[in-house]
Structure formats: C-alpha cells, structure tokens
Amino acid sequence: MAKQALSLLKSTLLATALAFTVPQAHADKPAVIRVGIAQQGVGDPPTFGGSPAATVQQLQLLEKEFAADGIKVEWVFFKGAGPAVNEAIADKSLDFAFQGDLPSVLGRANGLKTRILLESGVRVGVKFAVPPDSPVQNVKDLKGRRVSIFRGTNLQLVADNVLAANQLDERDLRVINLDSASSLAALSSKGIDASVNDYHLYKLRDQGLARIIYESQTAGPQFTRQSHLLVLDDFDRAHPDIVQRVVNVFVKGAQWSSDEANRDALFGLWAKSGVSYASWQAEFANQSLKSRNSPLIDPFIVARYKAVANDALKLKLIRQPVDVDGWFEPRYLDNALHSLALDRYWTRYDAQGNPLG
C-alpha cells in the first residue's frame, strides 16, 4: 500500500510540476470556458447579482450561446474575491474573469498577462456602516476605531480616498481584513466599530443591525469603483472567435440590464442571489440602470483606471507603475456594439465624468 501511495504522490507532484511548465494545449475549440467571478457565490449552485455579468450568469446566456458547439461554461466563484481570482489567473486555471479595478491592477503590476474587454458595473460606490447604537456619526469619528476593509478588492482604494477626503489615513484606524460575509457578521455582533462594504449592508440596515453613515457613489469620480470582464492573453491568442462571441453575449446582457423597462425583472432576477429586491432598489435609487450597467470603455473609464494605478503606487500597494494604455482591448466591444447596432445606446463620459457629445 505504501508503494501505491508513493506512486500516487509522485504522479501528483509530477502533474503539479507539469501544470506550471507546459502551456495550455491548443485545440480548435476549448472543451470548457472557465469564467472566474470575484465574489462569494450564494446558494447551490452558486449565483450572484448586481452587475450585467450576474445577469448573463443567471439567465445562462453563455451556456445557450455555446450549447450548439458543445462547449461547457464553468462559473468559478471565489470567497477571497479579487485577490483570489489573481491567484487563479496566475495558476492559469481561468479563461475569463469578472474582477474589480484594483485587484486587476495588482495582478498586472505583478506580471499577469490579461486584457480588459468591457466594463460590467461602473460608478459603484462604497458604504460605511456602524452598529445602530454607535456614537460614530460620520467618517471623521472613525479615528482610532476598528474598521473592516476587504483588502485588495476595489473597495479598498475608494475607502482610502474617502478617508483621505476626511483627512484620515488607514494608519489612523485599526484596519482588519475581513471578507464580505465575515465583515457583516462582525458588524452584527458588534465585534468591529465599522465596516466598509457594498449593497449587502442594506439587509442589515433593514433588520436594524447596522446604520449606514456614508455612501460614496455620488460624491465624485474618485469615490466610485468599476468592475470589468477580462480575458487571459493565452486564451485570447488561441481563440479570438470565442472571445468575440463571449463579448457579444455580455453586451446583450448589458443592454437587457440597462433597459429601464426591465428594472423590476432585473431586481427580481438578482434577488435570487440572496440580496433582497428592496436592497437592489435602495442600491440603484439615485442612478439610472444605463449609467451603472454600461459596458463602454470611454475616457472616464481610462482615466479612472489610470488614477487607480497611480493611487495604488502612492499607497505602496504596488511597487512599480502600471501601464494602463496597452491594457484595454476595445475592438471586440466595438465589433459587438456595431453588429448589435448599439453604438449610440450608452452615453460616453469624459475624464471628469461629464457626458460627451
């Protein structure tokens, strides 16, 4: 038995070593398309909400598109969010990824070779919440208190910008790194003084377990965060046709998610991920679906990503500058918009966030 175990161990180690060194086998068609989602999926099978990517996943648009070719679609969820997706990308165990701006910048700074195809969820803010009976009234009062921030996700940079606008620094607080779910639990049990989180906080607020003291999405461009769909360079070079079809599907999903007539249906769909209809209503209260779910890579997006790269360098989150210009790959998006006649559907914004033309 020891011999068998030894040979199992040997083959395991060999397989691991090979996985690192041998590039992906090139086939005409991949057997499966692996899409990584930088969120902890809820439910069995897991699902999520809040962006056009979620719409695509829930409506199974990708599966339908590739069913005829016999290509399966695998959605991989990560409890560790953006940072964990980076690890999977480095491992080459994904083909596409839905990820936030900061984690992708961190990945690119460390040499991951990816291309941003389209945006999926822009102009999203962060929320600061405290326990209901807390003496903290605004962000300035958080000095010296225990705050949970999910490090390495796009929450972090916006949180840092909010703190800077209040003349604070991360060092003035006691920051604990907790993922979304742990942070909510810690807030409910009053284990922390404040939590920086997203739309999940509305549920706690409705249950009376938390009080939101600040929401950042309307305060200015540097207080918003974006998420995108990216593709690994290797997959892009091997199967550009598949990439184009995937982008087409995502643009269709974005279009469905931007139609105000679908607002009800959209929130109902996303509610399947465990975040209630009421929470989605509150989340999108002051923003139109079009502005949030636009897939365009316009000057605003480019400026935001450059700012994220600069801020990350300033905060020493990355050690060398990241070049954003060569990172976007808009031709798939342009092709898709053209072929679906959606060139004028979404508004383009300039670097300051004002509508263009």
């Binding site: 491992d91 984690p103 990945g107 790194n177 742990s182 810690a186």
Partner: protein, 293 residues
Amino acid sequence: MSKAIGEWSPAAGHAVARTAGETKAKVRARSTSNLQRHARALAWHLAPWLLPAALFALWSIGCERGWIAPQILPPPRMVFDTLCDLARSGDLAHHTFVSLQRVLLGFGAGTLAGLLIGAALGLSRTVESYVLPGFNALVQIPVLGWLPFLLLLVGVGEPLKYILIAHAALVPVTLSTMQGFRQTPAALDEVARVFGYGHWQRIAYVVLPAAVPTLATGVRLALTKAWLALVVVELVASSEGLGYLIVYGRQLFQLDLVMASVVIVGAIGFAINRLLDALEARLRRGQPSAFRE
C-alpha cells in the same frame, strides 16, 4: 625507538612500519586512508547543508529560467529585499512584537492555569473523578473547533486571540502535569514513607521533582501549540501581527511579502524550540539519573 611520541613523523612512521615487517604498499595504503578519513570527516560536517543548498539552488534556477511564474514563487533575491525593507521600515519589529506579546501572554496564562488544574487533578483523586471526565470530553474538541464559537462570543478583538492561545497551552500542560504528579515511582514513595514525610513534604520533595521531566515536556508541547494557534487566529482575523502580514501580502498579491513573513514565523518557531531545548537540558542536569535509562 629512541624518538619520543611527540616527535613522530611520517618518515619515522614508515621506518617503524618497515621494521615491523609491513610492505611498502600497505604503508602507502594506510597513509592515503588518512586522507580518506579527513575527507569523510569534512563530508560529515557539511552533509546537513547539502539539502538546503540544493533546494535553494533549485529555487534560484527555477525563478531565473522561468519554470515557475514569479507571482507564484518569487525569487530569493526579492524575498530577501522585502525582508530588509520590512526591517528598515520598522514594520517587522512592530508586527513581531505584537505576535510575540500575544503568544507569551496567552501561553503564560494558559500554562499557569494548566499547572494549577493539573496539580489539583493529580494530587486529589476526588477532584480527578469529578473533573477529569468532563475535561477529557472538552479536550476532544481541537483548538480550531473553538474558533467560530469564540468568534461569535467575543468578536474579533484581542480577547479572541488570548483566549484561544491560552486554551491551546492549557490542555497539554494540564494533562502532563496530572500525569507527572501521578507517576511518582513507587520506590521514592516508599523511601518517603520510611523517612516519615508528611503530606505536603512528600509533595514538595518527592512528587514535584519527579514530575519535572513530564511537566517540562508538557510545557514544551504547550508552547508549540500556542504558537500554532497564534498563527491560525492571526490568519483568520487580525489587524496586526505576523499572520496579518501574511494575509496582507496575499490580498495584495505580493507573494514575496508572504514568503518573508513565513520565514520570520519559521525563524521564531525555531528559536523558541532551541530555547526550550537549552532550558530543558539545564533542568535535567539537576535530575537524579537513577531512574532514567
């Protein structure tokens, strides 16, 4: 032989060998075996460094040749630079101090409590019969099993860490103290009876010294477990400390920071063990060796 031993020379050795009737060839064979012996001694001294050197070489070459992506395994140079950066910026000292403080305080509290409880269990059969079964049942739940329970109870602050570390230390110390107090060799007991020792004299002069080796092993195990518990709890929920550094590095996808922190954690664990080795050797020197093989 007119030469004194101190003035022995190879030539004289040859002369002696020849006079003793050995052939030239045999003499040559004997002196080359001297060289062999020196080479073997050198190899013996260097052998422990062979494996680490080979691994290090593999690591460096692997990174240089790009066998493994640098995000996954950063080159040694980068890890070293990160270590220096950490040391220079004072972060290393700060986080190490926080971790050490947590582990020492938790370990101290747990050991003290463990010694008291173990002594009570060991010395009194009544206490043992009331407390031990319940204690044994609680012991079946490993330290990590308590983590979510304590997370809910006390939240993610300092008390969580201290309670967990103290618990990790308390269990082995209690059990080995109890065992040490129970396993006084009967012969020593008989001698104490012959000398007419009272109850407390017996405990102080017979039971306690005989229990020291077992106690020492228990304390040693407790420190290892306390260090283990510290690393886990800092990985799960902490705002400072070495485990926090590891998490920070991982979240920011800076594997060199993670490796540097792992090196520090390993170094401290190593230092702790060496310290305990020395302490134990010190203690054992005063032990009577009659009952040890």
